[in-house]
C-alpha cells in the first residue's frame, strides 16, 4: 500500500520525509515497547506507536524502517523530528488511537490483497 494512501486513510499530517510518500509498504508494526520492536521487525516497514521520544527514531534507524506513525494526535518533540529528518525517516501523526489506526490499515491491506 502506498504511504500516500495511508496518509489519506488516517487523515494524517506528515511532519517530515514527505518525499517518501510514494513508497509502497507491505509491513506495519504496532508497539510502544522498544525491545519488542527490535525483536519483532524483520522487514522494512512502518512503525505505529504512541511513543514520541528520540529513541523511537533510533530504534527505527537500527532496523532500517521507512517511517513512523504517531497515534492519538501526538506531536513529537523537536529532537525527534530533527533526528528523523537527518536520517530520512518519514513521520506522520494521526488523531486516531492505536486500535483505530491498526484497524483501518488492516482492513485496507486485506482489501488491497483481495483486489489483486
Amino acid at each position: 500500500m502506498k504511504l500516500e494512501k495511508v496518509k489519506e486513510l488516517l487523515s494524517a499530517k506528515v511532519l517530515c520525509g514527505e518525499s517518501l510518500l510514494d513508497r509502497d509498504v507491505e509491513y506495519f508494526y504496532a508497539s510502544d515497547l522498544m525491545s519488542d520492536i527490535l525483536a519483532t521487525v524483520k522487514e522494512p516497514g512502518i512503525l505505529i506507536t504512541a511513543m514520541t521520544q528520540p529513541q523511537v527514531v533510533r530504534t527505527t534507524q537500527m532496523l532500517d524502517l521507512i517511517g513512523i506513525i504517531f497515534v492519538n494526535g501526538k506531536t513529537p518533540p523537536e529532537e525527534t523530528l530533527r533526528l528523523a529528518s537527518s536520517n530520512e525517516i518519514l513521520i506522520m501523526t494521526t488523531k486516531y488511537s492505536m486500535f483505530e489506526t491498526c484497524g483501518k490499515i488492516y482492513i485496507a491491506i486485506n482489501r488491497c490483497e483481495r483486489d489483486r
Binding site: 525491545s35 525483536a39 528520540p54 530504534t59 537500527m62 532496523l63 532500517d64 529528518s85 537527518s86
Partner: protein
C-alpha cells in the same frame, strides 16, 4: 609517552568516517536557493553537499553562498547555478590527522567524504571534530597473530553515560554506519545493530557509565559492554524474557520491558554475562560472519 598522549595519537588515526556528520539532509541540484536555505536553517547547518539521484556528490553550497544569492534576488534559482563544483574531498581511508591537515592546508570550512564511486558519505567540519571526539575514545587497528597468519582486527570503542537518554543510541548508530561502510551483509549488520543498541540502552538505563566496544575481524564481530553500576542480582532471571528491574520512568519511555537481554541472546552466536553486585556488569556477544 604518557597515557593521555598515547590516547591522543591513537585518536588521530581514526578514519574520518567516524568523525564526519553522516546525518546530512539530501539536497538535489534542482532545489531552489530559498528551499535550501530553509533546509540548512531547520537542520542548523551552515553548509551542505549537493548530490544527484544516485547520491553522488556534484557540489557544495554554504549559507554564505545562499544568503548572497538571495541578496542578489536569485532566491528562485536552482542551487546548481550557485554551488561550488570543484570540491576538495576526503575518502573513507583518510584519517582524522589527514582531515586536520586538509583544514590547515586548504583553509576551507568543510570537506565532504566520498567513496571511490563519488557517492557522498558525510561532511567533516572542524566543529564535528571538536564535538564528536569525546564520544569516540579510540579506534585501533590491531594486528593479531592467528594460526600463523596476520589478521587485521578493527576495534571501535565508545563511552556511554548512564541516564543520557538524549544521546543514548548514538554509539550504535555510528557502529551500524561503520559496518555499512565496510559492506558487511545486511543480516549481520542487523544483528550487531540490535545487540549494540540493547547493550548501549542497558548502560543508559541501569549503570552510572560504561564502555561499548566492537571488534571486527574477518570471521566474527565481538560486541562488549562493560559498565560501572549496581550489577545484576540474579542473572538467570535477567536473561528471562519479561523480567525487568527498570524503574517506572524508564518504562514510560518504552524501555525496561524485560526483553533487552533476551534480544541480545537471540541475535548472538555466543553470549556471556558476568556481573558483580555493587560493581558492574560485563556483557559479551559474538556474531559470526558466515
Amino acid at each position: 609517552m604518557r597515557e593521555i598522549d598515547r590516547d591522543f595519537y591513537s585518536l588521530l588515526k581514526l578514519p574520518v568516517t567516524l568523525i564526519m556528520n553522516a546525518n546530512m539532509p539530501k539536497v538535489l541540484p534542482d532545489r531552489k536557493v530559498s528551499q535550501v536555505r530553509e533546509i540548512l536553517k531547520i537542520n542548523q547547518l551552515d553548509g551542505v553537499a549537493i548530490t544527484n539521484e544516485e547520491g553522488k556528490l556534484v557540489g557544495i553550497v554554504t549559507m554564505y553562498d545562499l544568503l548572497k544569492a538571495i541578496e542578489e534576488g536569485r532566491r528562485d534559482v536552482s542551487v546548481e547555478y550557485i554551488m561550488t563544483k570543484n570540491v576538495v574531498t576526503l575518502s573513507p581511508f583518510h584519517t582524522l590527522a589527514d582531515a586536520i591537515e586538509y583544514f590547515r592546508v586548504y583553509g576551507y570550512g568543510r570537506f565532504p567524504v566520498v567513496d571511490r564511486d563519488g557517492v557522498f558519505l558525510g561532511m567533516v567540519t572542524p566543529l564535528d571534530i571538536v564535538i564528536r571526539l569525546p564520544s569516540l575514545k579510540k579506534e585501533r587497528e590491531e594486528i593479531e597473530e592467528k594460526e600463523g597468519e596476520k589478521v587485521k582486527v578493527i576495534r571501535l570503542e565508545f563511552s556511554v553515560e548512564g541516564g543520557d537518554f538524549i544521546n543514548g543510541g548514538e554509539a550504535s548508530s555510528k557502529i551500524k554506519r561503520y559496518l555499512q561502510d565496510l559492506g558487511l551483509p545486511r543480516d549481520i549488520i542487523r544483528k550487531v545493530a540490535i545487540v549494540s543498541y540493547e547493550m548501549e540502552m542497558n548502560i543508559v538505563i541501569h549503570a552510572y557509565r560504561g564502555k561499548l566496544t566492537v571488534e571486527i575481524s574477518p570471521d566474527k564481530i565481538v560486541v562488549k559492554a562493560i559498565d560501572e553500576g549496581s550489577g545484576i542480582e540474579d542473572i538467570d532471571k535477567a536473561n528471562q524474557p519479561g523480567y525487568s528491574t527498570a524503574p517506572p520512568k524508564v518504562r514510560e519511555l518504552g524501555f525496561g520491558a524485560g526483553m533487552g537481554l533476551p534480544n541480545i541472546i537471540s541475535c548472538s552466536d555466543e553470549f556471556d554475562i558476568k556481573s558483580t553486585v555493587g560493581v558492574g556488569t560485563e556483557v559479551t556477544s559474538i556474531i559470526y560472519i558466515r
